[in-house]
Symmetry: C2
Subunit: 325 residues, 2 copies
């Protein structure tokens, strides 16, 4: 039995477009509509297919809660989540919690009221919220709310090993590590513990610069990094998230230090902006497209009643060649 997905594939259009054409609701170019109806006929599509009825009584909306839309990692994640949802004929409601106390709750409430069919959470767990009691489609990216909610995250152990290996092999003796305090349960912290362990095992001194885990976005520019300028001066290697790494590069070069000769920098996430600075930042790249895709595939499975969903999904990281190591 054919589905609207088969029709979409055959006609070369999105599922949403097929759904609109079959429901006869407006705003489809005539030739596109004809193509879809032809594909439906050829595939002997029956309008009461279970796949089609699945879309009844649904909002066809999935929400995503992020700490800061403007933080490059979450910008990329939001972009890809929106695109992947579109493949399923779903739309994306966005919630940026910056400066809004406990705004996540509003989205959890909307989920319970069926304003949306599912929610993708990318922010720290909220004290006092019994997430298990919500019993609606939920998926987490990089933040662990509960054992029973699927968690999609990068392989940060490999990431930490890659980063440590780069600075170790380059002969660094005293490295500065920017890491958030708290959030120990979250998978992304593995990069920091792994990095530190390897450094210590190799007899390399580790200087620590604490960053607040809710401090995101471009405040990590030159101004923010300046408070650590003494530590940057002392180090011959730096391990930092993208915006901090770019800020450190700028700060160091302004103080006359040669990168990578005198100071090596390894960035983490390696979002596109790290290829715009000069030199390009060497680092560990997260596969943001894949994180988004697996998160959306997983929440769609749950929405469609599939109960056999893996609760811990690890996405590979990779090496970004650059000019700072």
């Amino acid at each position: 039995m054919s589905s609207i997905r088969d029709i979409a594939l055959k006609a070369g259009v999105g599922i949403g477009t097929v759904s609109r054409a079959l429901n006869g609701t407006g705003y489809i170019a005539e030739d596109t509509k004809k193509k879809i109806l032809n594909a439906a006929r050829e595939l002997d599509y029956k309008p009461n297919d279970p796949v089609r009825s699945l879309y009844r009584n649904r909002s066809a909306i999935v929400g995503i809660v992020v700490p800061d839309i403007e933080h490059p990692f979450f910008t990329g994640l939001l972009k890809h989540v929106e695109q992947e949802l579109f493949q399923y004929g779903y739309r994306c409601m966005v919630c940026d919690i910056t400066g809004k106390e406990r705004r996540e709750l509003e989205f959890l409430e909307m989920l319970q009221q069926d304003v949306m069919d599912g929610l993708i959470i990318c922010v720290d767990p909220l004290a006092g919220v019994d997430i298990e009691s919500i019993r609606k489609p939920l998926v987490c990216i990089e933040r662990k709310w509960s054992e029973n909610i699927p968690l999609i995250h990068s392989n940060h152990i490999k990431g930490g090993e890659l980063a440590a290996g780069l600075l170790k092999d380059a002969g660094c003796r005293r490295v500065l590590q920017f890491a958030p305090v708290g959030a120990e349960k979250d998978p992304f912290m593995n990069r920091h513990s792994t990095f530190r362990r390897i450094m210590e095992e190799s007899g390399i001194e580790v200087l620590q610069a604490n960053i607040l885990s809710n401090r995101m976005g471009y405040e990590y520019d030159g101004q923010y990094v300046k408070q650590f300028s003494d530590l940057i001066e002392k180090a011959d290697g730096i391990f930092a998230p993208d915006l901090v790494a770019a800020g450190c590069l700028k700060e160091a070069v302004e103080h006359g230090r040669k990168v990578p000769e005198e100071l090596k920098i390894v960035t983490y996430d390696a979002m596109p902006l790290t290829r715009l600075v000069n030199p390009t930042l060497t680092g560990v790249a997260q596969d943001v497209l894949r994180l988004a895709r697996v998160a959306v595939d997983t929440i769609m499975k749950i929405i469609n009643g599939n109960s056999s969903v893996d609760c811990d999904l690890t996405i590979d990281v990779s090496f970004q060649k650059g000019g700072t190591v």
Copy 2:
């Protein structure tokens, strides 16, 4: 007569929170709820206030259509639009049209079906769409769809003057201008025509590099800019959008040119990433927060039935001091 806005102000919370507290729907901390109910009592709030009833039969959702979430200008715009909508107790549905042919139509259709109460459009007009016939709350930012739809845009004439003045006063004799082809009706094109006019009046040669107006985001990195490397080599001044400007800076420095001594660069938009590169890009800053705020205020007026809305709203631009001029 007091409104939920007065209560929100008095209790120091958002309108959405007040609405939830008064409707008795879950997920509000007990002390917050108490604070809101006390404020409502003190202000002698009547639950059948017209302001409150306004929120009935509404989706409390406004959509925004952008060319590319990851383009820094639209990332900033989306962030602020979402935040401003939140002040009104509204949520934000996002539509990124990258790679999705005529996807705007889906959002226009949802608007007609009252899935959302209004739509903010930041993409080029679509051929064959009779936008006037839609008769729902619509606002455009930087893209002109019709005389009768409010258009919020920066003062690009002033922006073009500022940019031209910077390169002229610095003594440039041959400048390279990156400008999109087409889109002549859109207000942002005024920066380019103004810039060119002043250059020509001053006897300064203008080299043109055409950029496609639908080409957005980080493809404008080193790889993209490289195809213009001959033109960059010939110029002593560059006027370009943020990502292109950052790419030009990188390309020029890699070819051993001194910035700003041998080559001056003026960026446009001046989003935060332009302060992370070294040196910081000198340029013209758009007031993205203000663009977002005026767009949201305007669409909320229309949603609330206020017909006296200005159809052309100009937002000031400003000078960003940097190290490239």
